[in-house]
Amino acid sequence: MMDALFFYLFAALVLGGAIFTVTRRNAVHSAISLIVSLIGVAGLYLLQQAEFLFAVQIVLYVGGIMVLFLFVIMLVNLDQAAKERQFNGQWWIALLCVAVIGVEIFYFVRKGASAFQMPVVAAPAALNAGGNTEQIATTLFSQYLLPFEIASVLLLVAVVGSVIMAKKRI
């Protein structure tokens, strides 16, 4: 019962924040709404016993990416853009396509809902046996070591790339 209550609360945060993000005229308002949405997602992680990802979501998304976004919003002058038309000319085609995809997805989710009732493989405590963070660390550094190293190279490329992009003269 408590779970359901919190689920609907966080779902409302997520969807409300998302809708405000894509409809607001002022980019700063969009960013604040996106923060609300991301905090709702973090709450959903906590409901699903993914404590480590909850912390990562708050620290990295809300504390890192959103500050980066706000920096850039302050850096580039958006006052001119806020006065202009906010949506593309072909917005109704986009809405039509998204509506079709939405009907499709919800039809299939409804039809296949029975397939999502997973047989519980182990006891409910097995997911976090010895702590969620320890579990993730053990799996990440044994089974997924190569993807982890590739991800670190990707981050290095992103750092170098963004510095070069933002430089005045290369």
Binding site: T21, L78, A81, N88, V98, L154, V157
Partner: protein
Amino acid sequence: MGPITTTHYIALSAALLLIGTIGVLTRRNIVIVLMSIELILNAVNINLIAFSHALQNVNGQIFAIFVITDAVAEAAVGLGILIALFRNKETVLADEVDLLKW
């Protein structure tokens, strides 16, 4: 209110994905397009975590970490490109950048 199942989470993630797609396709402001991409990536993460919980398997959370890594890299490079674009063309509207259109 019945118990919350995996289907609830999948429906929520689908709705978030659709809202993000609307943002990417319709907004003119590039900053908000980038924010909508973050929404889409979060929809993916909700799905991964829901199945991780349903299967009692930690692998889904590992993939969510990789998705977050990609989101960070994408945001950094995208905002760098945006700053370069603003410096050269004085605009942040996506449809005013039409140099490669004939």
